[in-house]
């Protein structure tokens, strides 16, 4: 799990260090894939596979949009696309340090050594979705539909003008 974590953090740094947008999108894809690897290492098989499948598609779409909308997608002209660097660095470091302090100093209680088998997990998650969390799950579905309509409406607005 530590190796996947290191890979996720390293590729996360590469996302904002490379000037090529395609490399940036690929780095984010690898970072998200490493997070999926962490899920698998933590024995959350369903979520791990879902993360890998979803992020592969999502980042492929993101790479297309980046090439479409960026002024310099290849990063050949060496444009600086950052602002307020010091303040951002300070905010990022402060956020990370705060979370690290909580992670290390808090008393998390006893650690569970075993988890249910993958098939039992999927079954229990299905029951959770269809019983206790059904309203939340349905709300997520309706929200996705609303976001799709809203995004389409925003994107075609200028054509109507």
């Amino acid at each position: 799990m530590g190796a996947f974590g290191l890979a996720a953090a390293w590729f996360g740094v590469v996302v904002f260090r490379t000037s090529s947008m395609v490399r940036s999108a690929l780095a984010l894809l690898f970072s998200m894939a490493a997070i999926g690897g962490m899920f698998l290492a933590m024995e959350a098989e369903f979520l791990g596979v879902l993360q890998l499948m979803m992020m592969a598609t999502e980042m492929a779409i993101m790479a297309i949009f980046m090439v479409m909308y960026m002024m310099d997608p290849g990063g050949l002209s060496g444009m600086d696309m950052t602002h307020q660097k010091r303040a951002s660095l300070a905010a990022g470091a402060l956020g990370a340090l705060g979370a690290l302090a909580v992670a290390v100093l808090a008393d998390w209680g006893p650690i569970e050594a075993r988890v249910p088998a993958a098939t039992a997990q999927v079954r229990e998650l299905g029951i959770e979705i269809m019983e206790r969390s059904m309203l939340i799950f349905e709300t997520a579905g309706v929200t996705i539909l609303t976001a799709m309509i809203a995004a389409t409406a925003i994107a075609i607005q200028s054509r109507r003008r």
Binding site: G2, G5, A8, A9, G12, V15, F16, M21, A25, L28, S31, I35, M38, F39, M42, A44, F46, L47, M54, E58, M62, F65, M68, Y69, M71, M81, Q84, K85, A91, G92, A93, G95, A96, L97, A99, L100, V102, A103, V104, W108, I111, E112, R114, V115, P116, Q121, L125, E128, I129, S133, A140, T143, I144, A147, A150, A151, A155, Q157, S158, R159
Partner: protein, 102 residues
């Protein structure tokens, strides 16, 4: 205890990197990448809490599914705005988006 701490430390580092990216980048798509990293960090923490503290409670996994939905929604609406902005102004640079104020 060590494995939970490793996962939480990775989550904290990813959150810091994402926050830096979301605040420092001038391009809308890059800002969205920063937000994605922060949501990824939240998911790592949620899975770690489920795995190491309460593996019998599946609300933790459910919460991860909701965060994944939020990631997809963020991309959908973000790219919708990017498309609208690109059509109107020919750029998705947020430094040039002062006209969105008020």
């Amino acid at each position: 205890m060590a494995t939970l701490t490793v996962a939480l430390v990775v989550g904290a580092v990813l959150f810091g990197i994402g926050l830096y990216g979301a605040l420092s980048q001038t391009n809308l798509v890059m800002i969205m990448m920063g937000v994605e990293l922060m949501l990824g960090a939240a998911m790592v923490n949620l899975v770690a809490f489920w795995r190491f503290l309460h593996p019998e409670v599946y609300a933790g996994q459910m919460f991860v599914l909701i965060v994944m939905t939020v990631m997809a929604l963020e991309m959908t609406v973000g790219f919708g705005i990017a498309t609208g902005r690109f059509r109107a102004k020919g750029s998705v640079e947020m430094e040039e988006a002062q006209d969105l104020k008020g």
